[in-house]
């Protein structure tokens, strides 16, 4: 499988604090890859390093070419990042949020808006509602729908289940799976809930204090002694 995203010895720091210590990982085309780890392990920072929202070192290859510049440039290469806390524009309407998702594209987007409204049908009747008035789960789905408007090659999602009811989480994960299977979308997923993310992903990396300590096929990792004890709780 050709790799879409390759991180080689990637460092990142917040001011004087180093958050990543040489992370190396690959995401193949059409794969769902999960990043596991405790709070502060560097999962979110890894996504931020890719999207350029944090100062980074090392090499990041995307689609065979080095990924450089800030988030505006990275978005133009076809990387969509749904950050922690969703990054929806709460003052703007649902439709305007979707419109912004397609900001980097030219030409008509009406068909795509229709399509994304179709995968989240309740969005349709709320297209003129302020995004801030949606429930947490609806905002998360709007954030993902908006990212899909970008027609990304790689979708990075950070903690989509945070603070949401199990049924809503199940729907979100089902949607990610559908995008992956039907459109061949590559997904890099950060998720606190190891059980969910191992169930949806093909492969996973375990991060501890800014380093990759374990990686493998998701179903094998789910059987791994250490992972089971520390992250699955049985």
């Amino acid at each position: 499988m050709p790799s879409l995203l390759e991180l080689q010895e990637v460092d990142a720091r917040y001011g004087p604090v180093r958050a990543l210590h040489g992370v190396t990982l690959t995401v193949g085309e059409g794969e769902i890859v999960a990043l596991l780890g405790a709070n502060g392990a560097g999962k979110t920072t890894t996504l931020r390093a890719v999207s350029g929202t944090v100062r980074r070192g090392g090499t990041i290859l995307f689609d065979g070419k080095e990924l450089r510049g800030g988030p505006e440039a990275v978005a133009r290469r076809g990387v969509a990042h749904v950050p922690e806390g969703r990054g929806t524009f709460s003052e703007l309407t649902v439709w305007e949020n979707l419109r912004l998702g397609a900001y980097t594209r030219r030409g008509s987007i009406e068909a795509d808006i229709k399509e994304s409204l179709a995968s989240f049908p309740w969005l349709e009747e709320r297209r003129n509602q302020q995004a801030g008035t949606l429930s947490g789960g609806e905002q998360q789905m709007l954030a993902i729908a908006r990212a899909m408007m970008q027609r990304p090659k790689l979708l990075m999602v950070d903690e989509p289940s945070l603070g949401l009811a199990p049924l809503v989480v199940a729907e979100i994960f089902r949607n990610l799976k559908t995008y992956n299977e039907q459109q061949g979308l590559t997904v890099l997923l950060v998720e606190q809930n190891a059980r969910n993310s191992l169930a949806v992903s093909h492969r996973a990396y375990l991060l501890e204090t800014g380093r990759v300590v374990l990686s493998g096929e998701s179903d094998e990792l789910a059987q791994h002694e250490g992972i089971r004890r520390s992250y699955l709780g049985y």
């Binding site: 929202t53 978005a75 524009f89 003052e91 900001y103 980097t104 801030g132 429930s135 970008q150």
Partner: protein, 322 residues
């Protein structure tokens, strides 16, 4: 308490409008003073919206806004002195203001904005104020000039009351420029991106919006609005074209922006028109209120709003569910 509070603002605004309409129907002097007050108010509104645009995007009050308006008004005067007729000079000035405002942001604000400190940017705008004001004096000197009015100095009669065409035109142009701006924000992709960049710069960058370009664009648009305000103001006999012509007007525009809620262009427009009309009526009906007292009155208004209801009339109510 909370249940009543959302009716206070509409009630207050409705009361003011009814007061102005009933008064105008009762007395022709009242009607004339209301219209000429609204004309002043249109000028405050344009400059107020310019302040709001920049505040909303950067949380910074642009102290140089008045000086930039003065500069562009001199540009318009210069073009007319060189022989251009009014409207070509008007629109050419708007274009020059847009380019100038954009460049000004690029050269003076962007380098300090990167450091990310609001106070640094405020001080930079003070620097721009001094720079622009200085260049006006240096290029055109301190003498008072005569700026031709956009409209003939005639009156039109409506139901026995004579209104100045200049006043009506000023109201019309101020409102038209704000409406054009509103349409730009509401219906165009670039306008949507500018709003996104103002509300959530970090999230806007993630969808590919070049936020720093949006800020430059915002400065360009603000400078255009300032140019409209300046050209309208300079034609008024009580202001005239002189280097400090916008100083007083900037204070009224601050008051309009604050009363409107600082983040709301619509609020700045409504507040600007109200302030213009009310102050003009105060000045003409209350004998002990001399023109010198009107500027302090605007200050008092600003203080009261900031103390009692900092979100102003149209302040953005935070809608967020977690």
């Amino acid at each position: 308490m909370a249940a009543y509070s959302r009716f206070i603002v509409p009630a207050l605004l409705g009361g003011c409008v009814i007061f102005l309409i009933v008064g105008s129907l009762q007395s022709s002097l009242f009607a004339q003073q209301t219209v000429s007050g609204l004309a002043n108010g249109g000028i405050y509104a344009s400059l107020g919206v310019a302040l709001v645009l920049i505040y909303r995007a950067t949380q910074v009050i642009n102290f140089a806004q008045g000086a930039i308006a003065t500069f562009t008004t001199y540009v318009a005067w210069q073009l007319m002195t060189w022989g251009l007729s009014y409207w070509p000079a008007f629109f050419l000035t708007l274009a020059i203001a847009f380019v100038g405002g954009t460049l000004l942001e690029l050269i003076t604000i962007r380098p300090v904005e990167r450091r990310g400190n609001v106070l640094t940017v405020v001080i930079a705008t003070l620097g721009v104020l001094i720079l622009v004001e200085g260049s006006v004096g240096w290029i055109w000197g301190a003498e008072i000039r005569f700026m031709p009015p956009a409209f003939p100095a005639k009156g039109i009669h409506v139901g026995g009351v004579s209104f100045s065409l200049q006043d009506l035109g000023t109201i019309g142009i101020s409102i038209a420029s704000v409406v054009v701006l509103w349409a730009l924000f509401k219906f165009t992709k670039i306008g949507l991106a500018m709003r996104a960049a103002a509300f959530r710069p970090d999230a806007a960058r993630l969808v590919g919006v070049r936020v720093s370009w949006m800020l430059s664009l915002g400065w360009g648009l603000a400078a255009m609005l300032g140019a409209v305000a300046g050209m309208m103001a300079a034609a008024s006999p009580s202001v005239l074209l002189q280097p400090n012509m916008m100083d007083g007007i900037l204070i009224y525009s601050f008051a309009a922006a604050v009363l409107g809620g600082l983040e709301s262009p619509a609020g700045a427009v409504v507040a600007g028109l109200l302030i213009g009309a009310m102050l003009n009526l105060l000045g003409s009906y209350v004998s002990w209120i001399t023109p010198q007292l009107l500027l302090p009155a605007a200050f008092v208004l600003m203080l009261v709003v900031l103390l009692v209801k900092p979100s102003g009339l149209f302040g953005r109510t935070q809608v967020r569910r977690v």
